[in-house]
């Protein structure tokens, strides 16, 4: 699904966003990408969706080489994934139904299949009764569920979620992650960027920690103890472990033994 081999990214202004990252995400996995602001999470996501190319190393996503991908191929890569944004990114002049149907139209789906699929997906996220509402008539949680429905409607093999709970009520956050977990249980790969450490403690999925451009941990078993306090800082903990035992001790717990 996603493979990064010794990937580094240096922007034109000299900012080094990623440093020699190697990582592999397999089909059907649920991965949290964690890190502080400016750690390199966004650059990592941008590479997955072919918005940025690596300066060195190799990135493979759904059989597309991001290093070699042509401009005209990018739309087809993006159709293999669904993207969920922190700020929902819904078109306010369209209804909930139209916002979701729009994605199918982009891929040239027939009106018949749109009529069949959109209500199904809206039902899946529990919003069928709000199909005719405009996004600004919905709560943040509901808007994000529309975002999820939109990401799901083309039946992608992977969902890329960029801090999907960042703009919603904490109570509704769990609802969204529950939905993503359910989608994952049905076989869709989920890559979710977050800095909400509480979520990672609650949902036991693989955790990849990026700090200052480095992949400092890839913890497949999410080995943080259950009794860690609320607002537990994952990055700080891994950094602490790394200083204590050296980087290898953390990488050993990673799926591919990266770094």
């Amino acid at each position: 699904m996603v493979q990064l081999k010794n990937v580094s990214k240096v922007y034109d202004n000299g900012t080094v966003a990623l440093k020699d990252i190697s990582l592999s995400i397999g089909k059907g996995e649920f991965v949290f990408i964690v890190g502080a602001s400016g750690a390199g999470k966004s650059t990592f996501l941008k590479m997955i969706i072919a918005e940025e190319k690596p300066t060195s190393g190799e990135v493979l996503v759904n059989d597309y080489s991001i290093n070699k991908i042509k401009r005209r191929e990018i739309p087809y890569l993006r159709r293999t994934m669904g993207i969920v944004f922190q700020d929902f990114r819904l078109i306010n002049k369209m209804t909930v139904y139209e916002n979701v149907a729009f994605v199918m139209r982009v891929t040239g789906a027939s009106p018949k299949s749109i009529k069949k699929r959109v209500p199904y997906v809206l039902g899946l996220v529990g919003l069928l009764h709000k199909a005719k509402c405009k996004p600004n008539e919905l709560s943040g949680g509901e808007q994000q569920r529309v975002g999820l429905a939109r990401a799901l409607v083309n039946n992608p093999s992977m969902i890329v979620a960029d801090e999907p709970t960042g703009n919603i009520d904490p109570k509704l956050t769990y609802e969204i992650i529950e939905l993503l977990s359910e989608i994952n249980r049905r076989g869709t790969t989920v890559v979710m960027v977050t800095h909400e450490h509480e979520l990672i403690r609650q949902f036991r999925h693989r955790v990849v920690v990026i700090d200052d451009g480095y992949l400092i941990a890839d913890d497949e078993n999410n080995s943080v103890p259950d009794d860690t306090p609320e607002f537990y800082d994952y990055t700080a903990e891994y950094k602490y472990s790394m200083n204590k035992f050296g980087p290898d001790s953390i990488a050993d717990s990673g799926k591919e033994g990266d770094r």
Binding site: I49, E51, R78, R79, V106
Partner: protein, 301 residues
């Protein structure tokens, strides 16, 4: 086909959702088209006026007075057989005098006595097929023994042709420049509308829309605005031309070409320029925007 219908509808919808911008584009484009129309109609009329002078690709072969009717008949046959002569008309000396008297009506009385001693020779008016071979034909006709003299307005006609060409070239430049101005204006207007639709474009790109899918509604919008402007300008120019024609007739007694005769070419010209300016203008901006990295997924954050 489904996509085409959807994208066409989107383009149409966009016209009304950005009504202010659409109206501004429509107004500016219409003004340009009206100017283009005025310039075209001016040239067409000048052309028409010059055509009558240019039709003087006629040379006059004056016949010697001793020529008999038989000689004249033989000459008529000879001219008919010449390759570069389209048509030959015999003008007898009586007819020449009559025509001369009529064209100088004020002095008609003074010419009355000439009827008895007509000094005007008979002639053949020869219409030339190919002006480039004018000189050869001229020499050939001059060489005929019964031809006294050959006169022509060739030089004047050539000068007029040159002038007409120059006016045509200048007006073509004006039309071209105005068309370019229209294109530029539309392309800038689209850039403004595009800015207000940045989020939409970015969402489209994030869900896998191809560039063509994004560009198409903008082009439809541009082409439709172009066509609406063409229609409005057509009626405006009709009104202007009709009234200007009336004024010219009243003041100078000059008759302009009836608009009915020019309707179709003007309509086609407006439609083509409107569609090209609208379609290409919008395509240019949006393509440029997309190629320079606009509409990237994280662009509108």
């Amino acid at each position: 086909m489904n996509s085409f219908r959807y994208l066409f509808k989107e383009g149409l919808k966009n016209i009304f959702s950005n009504s202010l911008m659409s109206f501004a584009s429509f107004g500016v484009l219409s003004c340009c088209l009206i100017m283009i129309g005025c310039s075209t109609l001016f040239v067409l009329n000048i052309n028409e006026a010059f055509k009558s002078v240019e039709s003087q690709n006629v040379m006059k072969a004056y016949i010697k007075s001793e020529a008999t009717q038989q000689d004249i008949d033989a000459l008529a046959i000879r001219f008919k057989e010449m390759d570069n002569i389209e048509n030959s008309v015999f003008v007898s000396s009586d007819e020449a005098l009559k025509s001369f008297t009529e064209s100088n009506d004020d002095y008609a009385k003074a010419f009355e006595s000439l009827v008895y001693d007509n000094p005007l020779p008979a002639s053949f008016e020869l219409t030339i097929k190919d002006l480039t071979k004018y000189q050869t034909t001229y020499n050939e006709v001059s060489g005929i023994s019964l031809v006294e003299k050959v006169s022509s307005q060739y030089d004047l006609a050539q000068k007029l042709i040159g002038m007409r060409r120059m006016i045509a070239i200048i007006s073509l430049w004006i039309v071209g420049l105005l068309a370019l101005v229209s294109l530029f204006i539309i392309s800038n207007m689209v850039r403004v509308t595009m800015h207000s639709r940045r989020l939409e474009i970015s969402i489209m790109k994030s869900v896998g829309a191809t560039d063509s899918f994004i560009v198409f509604p903008f082009m439809v919008e541009g082409i439709l605005i172009g066509l609406f402007s063409a229609a409005a300008s057509f009626f405006a120019i009709w009104y202007i031309y009709y009234n200007a024609g009336g004024v010219l007739m009243d003041t100078l007694g000059t008759q302009v070409i009836p608009f009915e005769r020019l309707m179709v070419p003007i309509a086609v010209l407006f439609a083509v320029i409107g569609m090209i300016a609208g379609g290409i203008g919008s395509r240019m901006s949006i393509r440029k925007y997309l190629r320079s990295g606009g509409g990237s997924v994280y662009d509108a954050i």
